[in-house]
Symmetry: C2
Subunit: 336 residues, 2 copies
DNA sequence: AATAGTAGCGAGAACGTTATCGAAACCAGA
DNA sequence: TCTGGTTTCGATAACGTTCTCGCTACTATT
C-alpha cells in the first residue's frame, strides 16, 4: 500500500548527481548550470515529483499555511469573507486551514490551544459571541504568532484587526429611518459582549441624540431570524411599540419582517425595518429589506493581506483597518 | 524574531532523560513508567510544548490533514456540507484544508495538480460544472491517494462517492406536482455535464412517463437565481407555457417565483414551482417554495467518515452512498 | 543460587529537504 | 608555471520526531 513518492533523492540517483544540486536546481538558478537545471526540472516532471512540505517546513521554519478560525460558515457574511481570504491566500501561494468554532467559546479555546505553531505561519480569527477571556489568543501573541482578527475583534485588540465601519453604518441606518419620517425607533441588538454590537448600538444612540429623539427600546440577543422574532414579541408587548426597528443584522431583519407580516402589520408604511449585511435574501424577501451593505469579500481579502504582510515582514506594526459600508434602500423603509 | 518553540529535546534535557522516552511518554503508555510519564506530561505542559507536525508527518507518512475541494461556499448547501465535514474531521482529530475552485475547471486542475500528496492524507472533492476531463483526479487515484467525491461526482466514478438520492428526489418532486393537479410541467435543469443534473432530469422524465404526461420543456443552464429568471423568459416565450416548473435547485426556484410575481402571475394557483435543496430562504420567500430537502450536513459528515476510513484501512472497498431526500410542501405548489 | 523473563530506558538511524562549507574544475592574468 | 578568482557541484550536518534495536536492572521461577 505505502504509496512511495518520488523524492529529490530519486532524481539525484537517476541523474547521477547529488541531492544538493537537485535541491538547488529546483528553486533558484544560482550556483547551478543552465543545462543541469533543465535536466533536473525535466526528469522531475517526468517522474511526477511533488515536494514534501513536511521536510521543507521542518528545515525552513515556515509552512505556507494559515489557519482561519470562524464561528460558522453557513451564512452569507462569513462564507463571503472566507471566499475573499481563500482567493487572496491562493494568489499568494498560501493554503488555508479551516476551523469552525460553532460560536462556542469552549471550542474556540480548544482549537486555538491545540493549534501547533509549527503547522501554520499565521492565524485569522473571528471570535465567538461568548468569548470574554482572550488568554488563549494572548498565548499565541506572546509566542510571536502572526494573528489578525476580522469582523468580531477583542475589545482592547493587541494585534491587527480588519472590520467594517460598524459605527458609521449604524449612523447611516438610523439617519435613514429618521429621514423617512420614523420617530419611534428601536434597536434589535446583538450579543452584548461583542465589539460590533457596541459600535452599532453607539451609532444608533448617537444619531438619535443628534436628532433629539429617544430610543424606543434596545434588546440584546443572538443573530438568528428566530432571535429577531422573539425580540419583536417582547418589543411589541409594551404599551408604546416602535414605528421602526434597526436590526443588528439582516437575519434578525428577516425575522422582524416575517413577524410583522404574520400579524398583518404593513412593513414600511406602518413599521420600518432596516438590517445590516446585505444578505442576498434581503432582495428576495418581500417587502425587500433595506440594509447597510458590508464589504464582506474585501474584508476577507484585506485581512488575509495584512496577515501575510505580518508573516513576511518580521516586525510589521499592528494596525486596525476599517472598511466603509453603504446604505441600500429597499421597500422595508419606504413610507407609503 | 525566530520564535523558538520548545521541542521534545528541551523536555528531555530538562528532565535528564532521552528524547526517545519523552516521545514514548507523550503518546502510548507502554514501555514507560507511570511516574516518568506523568513527569514528562507535566513539564511538557509547563514548557508549553506543541508537537511539530512537520516532523511527525515526515517520519510517519501521514499528516492528519484532509483537503476539501469545492466550487464555492457562498450558498446554503455547500456551506452546510463543509460544516458537516469539518465537525466530523475535528472529532476524529483531522484538520481540513479548504480549496475553492470558483466552479472553474482551470482552477480545479491547478489546485489538484499542485496538491502535494505528502501534505494531506486524503481528498474530498466536489467537481465543477465545467469538469469533463478527470485526468488530474486519476493521477491522484493512481498514486493511491484516498479520494471521495460528494454531491457532484464524475460519471464513471473510480472511488467512493457520497450523494443525495437525486433520482428519487426528482421523482418525488414531479409526483407531487402531478398530484397537485399540474399537468404541463417543465424542468429548469442544471449544467448538462453534471451527474446530478442527469439524475434529476431522469427522475422527472420517468415520473412524467409513468403518468402518461409529456414534458413541457427542459432547459439547461447554471444554478443561479438569474439563470432561473432567464430560463423562465425563454420557457414562457413559447406558445404553450407550462403550468408548473420543477427547478434543479432552490436558487433557480427563487428566480422562477420572482419572475412570475413580477408579471402578476399567481404562484401556486396559476403556476406551481418546486425546488431542490431546502435552502432557508425557501421558507422566507413569498410564496414560500416547496422543495426537496437534501441532507447536506449528513452528506458532509458521511463523506468525511468514508474518507477517513479509506485513509485508515489500507484497502477499504470503494462504495457509492446515496442518502435519502425528503419532500417539503409549501405554498408554491398549493393550488389554492 | 542460577536462570529466565520483563519493565524501563537510551543510542542511533531514518524521514525529505535545505544550508554550510569546501573541493574540484576551469579560466584569466602575471 | 603559478596565483587568484570564478563557477559548479558534492558531503554533511541540521530540522524534530518516531522506530528499531539493544542494554540494564529488577522480579519471578526453579
Amino acid at each position: 500500500m505505502t504509496r512511495r513518492l518520488t523524492t529529490i533523492k530519486d532524481i539525484a540517483k537517476a541523474l547521477g548527481i547529488s541531492v544538493a544540486t537537485v535541491s538547488r536546481a529546483m528553486r533558484d538558478t544560482y550556483d547551478v548550470s543552465a543545462e543541469t537545471r533543465k535536466l533536473v526540472l525535466d526528469t522531475a516532471a517526468r517522474m511526477n515529483y511533488r515536494p514534501n512540505f513536511n521536510a521543507t517546513g521542518l528545515v525552513k521554519s515556515g509552512t505556507h499555511k494559515i489557519a482561519v478560525i470562524i464561528p460558522a460558515i453557513t451564512n452569507y457574511y462569513f462564507s463571503t469573507v472566507i471566499t475573499g481570504i481563500q482567493e487572496y491566500a491562493l494568489e499568494q501561494n498560501y493554503q488555508v486551514m479551516l476551523y469552525l468554532t460553532n460560536d462556542s467559546a469552549y471550542w474556540e479555546t480548544k482549537v486555538v490551544r491545540e493549534l501547533s505553531p509549527s503547522s501554520v505561519d499565521g492565524l485569522l480569527a473571528c471570535i465567538t459571541s461568548e468569548t470574554t477571556d482572550f488568554s488563549h489568543f494572548d498565548e499565541l501573541i506572546d509566542a510571536d504568532m502572526p494573528l489578525v482578527f476580522f469582523d468580531r475583534v477583542p475589545d482592547p485588540v493587541k494585534t491587527s484587526a480588519v472590520v467594517q465601519d460598524d459605527y458609521t453604518g449604524a449612523c447611516m441606518a438610523t439617519q435613514h429611518l429618521i429621514e423617512q419620517g420614523y420617530s419611534k425607533i428601536a434597536h434589535l441588538a446583538g450579543p452584548p459582549g461583542l465589539n460590533l454590537t457596541q459600535q452599532r448600538l453607539r451609532g444608533y444612540l448617537d444619531t438619535l441624540k443628534k436628532h433629539n429623539l429617544e430610543s424606543h427600546g434596545v434588546i440584546h440577543s443572538g443573530f438568528s431570524e428566530e432571535n429577531g422574532r422573539e425580540d419583536m414579541t417582547t418589543l411589541f408587548g409594551h404599551e408604546s411599540p416602535p414605528d421602526a426597528v434597526f436590526c443588528v443584522n439582516d437575519r434578525k431583519g428577516f425575522g422582524a419582517i416575517l413577524w410583522l407580516r404574520e400579524r398583518g402589520i404593513r412593513v414600511g408604511e406602518e413599521v420600518g425595518v432596516i438590517g445590516f449585511t446585505n444578505d442576498p435574501t434581503s432582495r428576495i424577501i418581500s417587502p425587500s429589506l433595506s440594509t447597510i451593505a458590508e464589504p464582506a469579500y474585501e474584508i476577507g481579502r484585506k485581512s488575509c493581506e495584512v496577515l501575510i504582510r505580518h508573516i513576511q515582514k518580521q516586525s510589521y506594526p499592528a494596525q486596525e483597518i476599517s472598511l466603509p459600508t453603504e446604505l441600500v434602500v429597499r421597500e422595508s423603509t419606504r413610507r407609503r
